[in-house]
């Protein structure tokens, strides 16, 4: 190759041990979301056949179920977004989105998200790669709950992650989900009166019994 005479002789692992985020030694850092440079990264293994085994010990905390569905809300209402392997999907900022069995609320953020499902190889399970911009200044992440019956917004909380830092997200997520679940008034639709099911966080191991029950259903 053209530049082979000027290749750095040192192995790349010695120059930057985290040069490959998919490397088995590096990948565990991205089980949640990890800000690196201008982006926040998440990498999930898809190792569960169904949601029934989510949270079990032999899997990593945020492994995903193969039977999950992904949703976005647009002008036509809720739409299912297929997760076809080797497909680049960009969820634009401001679009409410949710993954069934993984997190039981709608995430609405000010940054675009790129989602790429990768197929299994001989040595690795299928994965889902998520890349989203690192929020800055007054950019936010929001947790929203919409009425399952009529689609009205029943609950909304906002974290200014651009100022406070994205690393605070999951602690805030846990607190916010617990707040929503703490009182049926939050879950009762102001418009149609429907009482919505409890929400759940992205960590199945933290589920209360009623959150677990909810995770199995929606």
């Amino acid at each position: 190759m053209l530049y082979s005479d000027v290749y750095v002789k040192e192995p790349i692992d010695k120059i930057a041990e985290d040069w490959d985020f998919m490397n088995e030694k590096v990948l565990p850092r991205f089980f949640g979301f990890r800000p690196v440079g201008d982006n926040v990264y998440g990498i999930r293994a898809i190792t569960h056949e169904t949601q029934r085994t989510l949270g079990s010990e032999k899997h990593t905390p945020m492994d995903m179920a193969k039977n999950r569905r992904n949703f976005e809300i647009g002008p036509q209402g809720v739409v299912i977004v297929p997760r076809t392997p080797l497909t680049i999907h960009v969820t634009r900022h401001g679009t409410p989105h949710r993954t069934e069995f993984l997190f039981g609320y709608w995430h609405v953020n000010d940054k675009d998200e790129i989602i790429i499902p990768l197929p299994a190889t001989d040595t690795t399970p299928p994965h889902l790669v998520i890349v989203m911009g690192h929020p800055k200044d007054n950019e936010t992440d929001r947790i929203a709950c919409y009425c399952h019956q009529c689609g009205s917004l029943v609950f909304l909380r906002e974290l200014v992650t651009g100022t406070i830092g994205f690393q605070r997200f999951f602690q805030w997520e846990h607190e916010t989900v617990r707040e929503y679940n703490s009182d049926p008034k939050f879950r009762t639709c102001w418009d149609c009166g429907h009482i919505n099911p409890v929400a759940y966080t992205a960590f199945p191991t933290r589920d209360s019994p009623e959150e677990r029950e909810s995770r199995m259903k929606w």
């Binding site: 053209l2 440079g37 201008d38 977004v81 392997p85 634009r92 900022h93 675009d112 190889t121 890349v131």
Partner: protein, 203 residues
């Protein structure tokens, strides 16, 4: 005299904002797409074709990022790092925002995605340059402010750069060691001259 109130000009239908975008990596070539805060390129190479290889520049020389390992590879190109993908574009690019290189094996092919961005308004200041294959010195740097001009304009402009570079030995002469950079190629293989095609095949 009071006339009839003026009617407001008929307004064009307001286009609904794009909520999401989907593209198959297996489609070839996908070319570049500007979606929100990202410029995204996708492509693939069969096992019979020579692979694309990402190269990064550093003070000690050029680092070839490992490829075709049999499993996915995701590599972050930090902003301010010149990079080059051989057989894809024959010059070097440096952004003011991070980029991400993803290679995934599937169905006997290597599938690639290059994502540039993450910060609102970027990539904005993007440079194209050349690197001497004899001493790794950078030369011929040109910066372009592309904030409001879309990324494709930058890419289109690089073909003119490459052609001027190929036509002038002086432009291809390294100011540090005097080595002459061989002719190179632009981003779009379909636009290649015979000389550019030969350079692309060498890689």
């Amino acid at each position: 005299m009071v006339g009839k109130p003026q009617q407001p000009a008929r307004t064009a239908a307001i286009q609904a904002p794009e909520l999401s975008y989907t593209r198959r990596m297996a489609e070839a070539p996908t070319g570049w797409q500007q979606r929100g805060d990202y410029a995204i390129w996708g492509g693939n190479r069969t096992a019979e074709e020579a692979p694309y290889v990402l190269h990064e520049w550093c003070a000690e020389g050029v680092i070839p990022i490992p490829h075709r390992t049999g499993r996915p590879i995701m590599h972050r190109i930090a902003k301010g790092t010149p990079y080059h993908v051989n057989r894809l574009f024959g010059f070097w690019i440096e952004h003011d925002v991070d980029a991400i290189w993803l290679e995934a094996p599937a169905e006997g092919s290597s599938h690639y995605t290059l994502m540039v961005g993450g910060t609102t308004g970027t990539p904005s200041n993007t440079a194209s340059l050349f690197v001497c294959p004899k001493c790794a010195a950078q030369f011929g740097r040109e910066s372009a402010l592309i904030t409001h001009q879309r990324y494709s304009l930058f890419l289109n402009s690089t073909l003119h750069r490459v052609r001027a570079f190929n036509a002038d030995t002086e432009l291809r002469t390294c100011p540090k060691c005097g080595g002459v950079h061989p002719p190179t190629y632009g981003f779009y293989a379909n636009d290649d001259t015979a000389q550019e095609r030969s350079a692309r095949e060498v890689g």
